[in-house]
């Protein structure tokens, strides 16, 4: 009995440790500032908050949409945390999502998968999405190993390239643009066939929560276990702290860098796949806009903990939904949410000085 009590107290201590408190405090402070800004803009705070709440939990649809968003952030965030264990900073989430979305759409539309049995119509495009993201991030991994290229710059540049590649894909009828019937045809793809759309958990379109949710939860659990309990996780940490000593101990630096960046890319790609196959169904320009950074910030906020990523991802998912509604109804630009996120990151980075030491 006392053993369980002891472990419960230990878990509580773990949850309430200073780094967590700082994260919570930063979020609250930024939120307060957000409210202050709303007030300063002359918008009725009440209206804004009402719109926000409505957008987040007002309807079952809103809740589902928020959670679906969170899935994308969570996957990118988990990928970031994995990379960060090895002291790699993957900033290319948006590009990896874009590549994933492109691959998923291409395979769903033109991969002749619609007729396949047993879930393959959506599983194969999902796999393609993950692989696309994996390969995209691996470019940065290879550059790091071969040329020592700073992965922050390379993943960032790759992200820009991917975003413009996406633009090209939806602009060109030769690529993924839907057949142009007139000059007013929108630059976007055809809608993916029904079998390739992700099944919903409840089957009810007014609560469109798709299977991405359980899959993401499983991925999160696996990631947490791998990082904490496996030898691979330990070796990743060693490489992150001291690549030379790790190398001397027989741990392959190249392998660790490649695997962790590839994993981060795969998760990012998968996020893009979920977005396309799960709720958007049509590939459009800029669909990944902002998701990469949101996921990144969720990863930073989590300070190395996978469970922390889930919490932060949920927060941002709801924040984004609320923000969109606030803009539509109360006229508060979504840029406000960006300001809040920027403040959170900056505050946390600075706060590390005071709580001494866990690497962000």
């Amino acid at each position: 009995m006392t053993d369980t009590m002891a472990s419960v107290t230990k878990s509580l201590h773990g949850v309430l440790r200073p780094s967590v408190m700082i994260s919570v405090a930063a979020v609250l402070a930024a939120a307060l500032l957000g409210v202050a800004l709303i007030f300063a803009m002359g918008v009725s705070v009440l209206d804004a908050v009402a719109a926000f709440v409505d957008g987040t939990i007002g309807t079952p649809y809103a809740v589902a949409a928020s959670i679906n968003r969170s899935i994308a952030f969570a996957l990118v965030g988990i990928g970031f945390v994995i990379g960060n264990r090895a002291n790699l900073v993957n900033v290319g989430g948006e590009g990896q999502i874009a590549m994933g979305g492109i691959a998923a759409t291409a395979v769903a539309l033109y991969g002749h998968v619609a007729g396949l049995p047993a879930g393959l119509p959506f599983l194969i495009p999902l796999l393609a999405a993950a692989i696309a993201g994996l390969l995209w991030a691996s470019v940065a991994g290879v550059l790091k190993i071969k040329a020592g290229t700073n992965e922050v710059i390379s993943t960032l540049l790759l992200s820009f390239i991917a975003v413009w590649f996406l633009y090209w894909c939806v602009q060109s009828p030769e690529l993924l643009r839907k057949p142009m019937t007139s000059s007013a045809t929108l630059p976007e793809s055809l809608e993916i066939p029904d079998p390739t759309k992700l099944p919903l958990l409840t089957g009810d379109y007014s609560f469109p929560l798709h299977i991405g949710l359980p899959v993401t939860v499983i991925i999160a659990i696996i990631a947490a276990i791998v990082l904490a309990k496996t030898v691979f996780g330990l070796q990743l940490r060693a490489v992150g702290f001291n690549p030379i000593a790790a190398s001397r101990a027989g741990i392959s630096y190249s392998r660790m860098v490649l695997v962790s960046l590839a994993a981060a890319g795969a998760l990012g790609g998968l996020a893009g796949g979920f977005m396309l196959l799960g709720d958007q169904y049509v590939l459009k320009d800029g669909f990944s806009s902002g998701y990469g950074f949101d996921g990144l910030v969720a990863g930073l906020l989590a300070r190395g903990s996978v469970m922390g990523v889930i919490a932060a991802a949920l927060l941002f998912g709801f924040l984004r939904s609320g923000g969109i509604n606030m803009e539509m109804v109360a006229g508060v630009p979504t840029a406000l949410v960006m300001v809040i996120q920027g403040l959170i990151v900056v505050t946390l980075a600075g706060a590390a000085f005071f709580i001494g030491g866990r690497r962000t």
């Binding site: 800004l37 803009m41 900073v89 900033v91 550059l143 071969k146 040329a147 020592g148 290229t149 700073n150 922050v152 710059i153 390379s154 960032l156 540049l157 790759l158 820009f160 390239i161 413009w164 590649f165 633009y167 090209w168 602009q171 060109s172 950074f293 990144l296 910030v297 930073l300 630009p333 840029a335 406000l336 949410v337 960006m338 300001v339 809040i340 996120q341 920027g342 403040l343 959170i344 990151v345 900056v346 946390l348 980075a349 600075g350 590390a352 000085f353 690497r359 962000t360």
Partner: protein, 306 residues
């Protein structure tokens, strides 16, 4: 390609390279001193926004320029404090500041101008150097540029001279390579690094101002579009020398100019690919096309006296 088109191409390349040159030189000094300043992008955007709003509000582009330099100061100071005094992770703070600035400038712009406005803003005037401006064919296209370009080039040359021939140059070099040497010689490492970051801020502000009130005379949300990261790539490509950075940024500028040049030559390349080109080039550059990079040894590592 006719000489006319060549002249236009060179002129455009220069024009498009200016923001990169200015920001790149600022980042160079910051990195030589040991601070990896990812927030260049945000500082450029601050400069672009403040210059635009300042020029619009006062009716004078010069005042706009002054305002933008003042406005970037708190942003640069924030980065400097976070990176040096609080010893925060420099990459994280840089990206955080970029997100913050993007949000803040977008928000402020919407508030002042309303969405989708393309208000005309008084811009900086152009200038030609005396003899060069009169060269046939090339004179007008190449040398008739916004005067900020010439001012910027002068600053860049001055920076190179300072780095090489003055004691500040020695201190900056040492601060990035072996900060202990600086500390044990009685000079304050944080002070040098603050200087580097604030200089980078100053140059980024000028770069941003060039974008908004120099080049297109307007402000659009997020108008820097990754130029700050291209500048960082330029510093890496240029192996942390002024000359190398200038060349790299000119190259990126030329790549961007191709976007407008190739269609006039009748070459039909998808627009997206052309827009992608500078980033692709930058990726190749940092990917080792230029040989293994040798960054200042203490780059990105906050100094702690032991």
């Amino acid at each position: 390609m006719t000489l006319d088109l060549l002249a236009v191409f060179i002129g455009s390349s220069l024009r498009l390279a200016v923001p990169l040159l200015l920001a790149g030189t600022g980042e160079l000094v910051s990195e030589r001193a040991g601070v990896l300043n990812m927030s260049i992008e945000g500082m450029m955007l601050t400069g672009a926004f403040a210059a635009a709003v300042g020029a619009w509000a006062t009716g004078s582009p010069l005042l706009g320029l002054l305002i933008c330099v003042i406005a970037v100061f708190p942003v640069a100071l924030l980065q400097a404090v976070l990176s040096n005094t609080l010893r925060a992770n420099q990459i994280v703070t840089g990206i955080g500041i970029n997100i913050l600035v993007l949000g803040a400038t977008t928000l402020a712009y919407r508030e002042i101008f309303g969405a989708r406005s393309r208000e005309q803003i008084p811009g900086l005037s152009k200038w030609s150097p005396p003899l060069l401006g009169d060269i046939p064919i090339f004179g007008e296209a190449v040398f008739h540029q916004v005067w900020l370009l010439y001012a910027g080039l002068a600053i860049i040359v001055l920076t190179a001279l300072v780095l090489r021939y003055t004691s500040i140059g020695i201190v900056i070099h040492a601060a990035g390579a072996e900060p202990r040497a600086v500390d044990k010689s009685g000079v304050s490492v944080p002070w040098v690094r603050y200087l580097g970051v604030i200089f980078a801020g100053f140059m980024s502000a000028l770069a941003g101002a060039f974008l908004s009130i120099g080049d297109i005379h307007t402000f659009t949300e997020g108008m820097t579009r990754g130029a700050g990261y291209l500048a960082i790539a330029g510093v890496i490509f240029g192996k942390w020398t002024v000359g190398g950075t200038v060349l790299a940024c000119l190259l990126f500028g030329a790549a961007t100019a191709l976007q407008f040049q190739l269609p006039t030559l009748g070459i039909d390349v998808p627009n997206a690919l052309l827009i992608m080109l500078p980033y692709l080039l930058a990726l190749l550059a940092v990917g080792g096309l230029a040989g293994r990079q040798t960054a200042p040894r203490a780059l990105g590592v906050p100094y702690l006296r032991r």
